[in-house]
C-alpha cells in the first residue's frame, strides 16, 4: 500500500501516535506512508509529501474541520486524487446524525461553525468511503476500521511472566504515583471525578494521583464563554484528594508517564462509549508499565481486548479492585500479559494494514475515474 495521511498533527492530541506508528511500521511491512503537506521543522518527524501522484490513495484522518488542509492544499489533493481513492477515517463519529450524550456531542455549531448536515454532506463531497474506528458503525454506508492499534514492540517493560511483572511492579519505590491519567480534560471530567471519589477510601494504600493534560487545573475561559460543560473540573475536589495536575506531554512521552503510576485508567468519553469508538489510548495504555483500569462497558472490553481483560474491569468497586491488586498483583498482571498477547494477535498495525487493504480492495480501489473536482 502507498498512501498519504491527511490530518493536522498535534504532538499533544488526537491521532498523532497512531499516525506516526503507521509511518514507522509501513517501511518494515513493505508499504509507504507519508503525511500530506509541507515539511515542518517542529513536531513529529515523519515524511511529508505533496506529490499526490505517487500514492495510491489518501487517508483523511478527521477529528475536526481543521484536519482537512486549507483550501489551496485541499484543491491540489482533490485534483490529483480521484474521489474513489480518497478515504475518510471518521475518528469522532461526525458522519452520523447529531448525537448528544451527557455533555458530549459529535456536532456543535457554536464550537466550530458547522451544523450536523454539513459534516455528512461534506464527507460525501470528499469521499465515497467512510471508515469509523468502532466495531459497530451506526450507518450502513460506514465500514468498521479500528485504525488505532497496539504495538508490542513499544511495550515499556516486557515481562517473561506475570510473576516477574508483579514483582517488579510491587517493588518498593518503583512508582512515584498510585494512579496516573494521561489525557486532556475534554469530556472526561464526570468519569474521572467518579473514579477519584471511589478511590478516596484507599488513597493511602494507592499513593498519589496525577492527571496530565490540558485544562485539569481549571475550566478554561473559552469553555466558560461558550457555556461548554464538557470541560468541567472541580479544583476543590482535586485539592481535597491531593491530586497533582500537570500540563500535557507530547505523544512520545505518554507511555513512560503512564507507567509512573501503579494504575492507569482507560476511559472513553461519553460519545465514544455510545458509538463504541476507540482511541490511541485504548491500545497504547497496554504498552505502559501500569495496570490498566478498564472503565469501559464489559461487552466492549471482551470484544476488543479478549476475555483475559475482563479481570481488569473494576466494575462498581474500584477501591476493592485496587486493594486486591495491590495485595496480590500476579493474577492482574497475568490478565495484562494475556491481553497484550490478544492485542498483538488481533490489533497490531500489521493487522490494520491488512484490514485497510481488504476494505480498499472492495470499496475504494475500483478503476480510476477522472478527478471529481
Amino acid at each position: 500500500l502507498r498512501f498519504l495521511i491527511v490530518s493536522q498533527l498535534d504532538p499533544y492530541a488526537r491521532a498523532v501516535r497512531t499516525i506516526t506508528k503507521y509511518v514507522e511500521k509501513a517501511a518494515a511491512l513493505g508499504h509507504e506512508v507519508a503525511v500530506y503537506g509541507e515539511k515542518v521543522s517542529e513536531g513529529p518527524q515523519v515524511p511529508y509529501s505533496l506529490d499526490v501522484d505517487r500514492f495510491d490513495f489518501a487517508l483523511f484522518v478527521i477529528y475536526q474541520a481543521a484536519d482537512f488542509p486549507n483550501l489551496p492544499y485541499l484543491a491540489r489533493l482533490l485534483d490529483g486524487m480521484p474521489k474513489e481513492r480518497r478515504v475518510i477515517v471518521d475518528c469522532l463519529g461526525r458522519y452520523n446524525e447529531t448525537i448528544r450524550v451527557d455533555h458530549d456531542f459529535n456536532h456543535l455549531e457554536k464550537l466550530d461553525g458547522h451544523q450536523g448536515w454539513e459534516w455528512v454532506e461534506g464527507f460525501q463531497a470528499v469521499s465515497d468511503v467512510v471508515l469509523q474506528p468502532t466495531l459497530n458503525p451506526q450507518r450502513d454506508d460506514v465500514h468498521s476500521f479500528l485504525f488505532h492499534a497496539f504495538d508490542l514492540e513499544a511495550v515499556a517493560r516486557p515481562y517473561a511472566s506475570a510473576a516477574d511483572a508483579a514483582r517488579a511492579w510491587s517493588a518498593k519505590g518503583a512508582k512515584p504515583f498510585g494512579l496516573v491519567y494521561v489525557g486532556n480534560n475534554w469530556q472526561r471530567w464526570d468519569q474521572i471525578a467518579a473514579l477519584l471519589q471511589a478511590l478516596a477510601p484507599v488513597r493511602n494504600q494507592l499513593g498519589p494521583t496525577c492527571l496530565t493534560g490540558w485544562d485539569w487545573e481549571r475550566r478554561p475561559d473559552w469553555a466558560i464563554e461558550l457555556g461548554l460543560a464538557g470541560v468541567d473540573v472541580d479544583p476543590d475536589l482535586l485539592a481535597r484528594l491531593g491530586v497533582e495536575t500537570r500540563s500535557a506531554v507530547p505523544y512520545n512521552e505518554v507511555v513512560d508517564l503512564a507507567g509512573q503510576g501503579s494504575f492507569c485508567p482507560i476511559i472513553h468519553r461519553p460519545l465514544f462509549r455510545h458509538l463504541g469508538l476507540v482511541t490511541t489510548r485504548t491500545f497504547e495504555t497496554f504498552c505502559s508499565d501500569a495496570l490498566p483500569l478498564l472503565l469501559l462497558p464489559t461487552e466492549q472490553v471482551e470484544a476488543l481486548y479478549g476475555s483475559a481483560a475482563l479481570a481488569l474491569v473494576p466494575g462498581d468497586d474500584p477501591a476493592g479492585f485496587v486493594e486486591d491488586a495491590l495485595r496480590r498483583p500476579e493474577p492482574y498482571w497475568d490478565a495484562v500479559l494475556g491481553t497484550r498477547a490478544h492485542l498483538a494477535k488481533h490489533h497490531s498495525y500489521e493487522r490494520r494494514f491488512d484490514n485497510l487493504a481488504a476494505i480498499l480492495g472492495t470499496a475504494a480501489l475500483a478503476p480510476s475515474a477522472p478527478a471529481a473536482r
Partner: protein, 358 residues
Amino acid sequence: MKVLFVMERRVDAGSIHAVANHIRAGDEAGHTMALYGRPDPRFPGVRFAVDATAFDHVVFVVESSLSWMSALRIPAILERVPRSRRAVLDVDGMYNPLICVDSYDRNHAAEEERATWLAHYAMLADRVFQPTLGSHQPGVFPVPFYGYDPASTLAPEASPPKCFDVMHVGHNWWRGRELNRLLPALERIRDELDGVCFLGSWWDRPPAGANELGLEAAFATDSDSLTRLRIEVRPPVPFTDVIREMSVGRVNLMTQRPLFRQLRILTSKYFEIFCADTIPLVLLAPDHAEAVYGNAGPELSLDYGVEEKLLDALASPRKYREIVEEVRRHLIEHHSYRRRVEELVSALASSLEVTRSP
C-alpha cells in the same frame, strides 16, 4: 438572476443584515437570492439553500476569518459551480496590499498571512468585489453592497422609549483609537448627559484566546474609563433588533475601524443608523460623510468638536431631525437595497461577460 451568498453566519455581527436585505429586495426586483445553509429560525426572513447548482452565481462574502471556508462546505460548491459564476465580496479589505493604519489597525499581520488569503481567493474566483463607492485597488470591482432600507425606518411613534442620551452600537473590534477621541469628549460633558450605553461584544473584556492570536490591540478597551464615565455596557443583539435597539438612544454614534475608514469600506452600520429613530453622528471626515450621505452628511460629522456637536444634537432635535430626513432622502435615491441588488446583479453579469470574452 439567482444568487447564492456563502458566508460565516453570525446572527449579531458581520454582513447578515445586508444579506437579508438583498434577499428581500431581490424578491421585489425579480431576483432570487439566498444564503447557503439549512433553514434556521435564528435568521428570520433569510432564505436558505444548499443546492448551489440551482443558482446562477455564488458570492462568497469574506470578512476577517478564513476558518469558516472549511473543507466541509467549500469543495462541494466549487465542484458544482463553474469558476466563471463565482465571485468574492471582500468586505474587510483583505485583498489589498498589507496596510497598517497609524501603527495600529491592519488588514494582515504579515505578508505571509496575506499570501494565504490570496491563495484562498484564487481558489474561489477570478473576480473580487469590495463594498466601496469606488475602489482604486487594481483587480477589485466596487460593489457597495450595504444599503438603506426605507421600509425598516422606525417612525417616532413606533419607537421604544428613549433610555439613553448617547448610544454606540457595535462590537469592540479595532475601536481603541476611536474611543481615544470619544471618551475624553464624553467625559467633559458626562454630567450633562442622561445615560450612555455601548451595546455590543467585547467592551467589558476581550474574547478568550485574543492575546494568543496576537489580537490584543483589536479588542483593547479602557474599562476604567467606561466605569468612570458610567457607560452601561449591554450585550449584542440579533441583526433583526439592531434598529430598534439603536432607537432607545437620542443620539447614536457611529464609529468605524481605521482601516475601513482609510479604504472607504462601507458597512451595514452606515445605513442601519439612519433607519433608527435617533440622531446619528458619525465619526467620519466631512468629505467622507458627504460622499456617502450627500450634502447634509457633513452636518452629522463628528470630526471636530465632538462634545459641542453632541450637546447641540441633544439640545436641537428638530434641527437634526431635518438633517436626518435630508440624508434619508439621499439614501433612498442613491443607496436603497433595490439599487444595491441591481448593482450586484450588474456586476455579476458583467463579470460573466468578461469571462466569456476571448
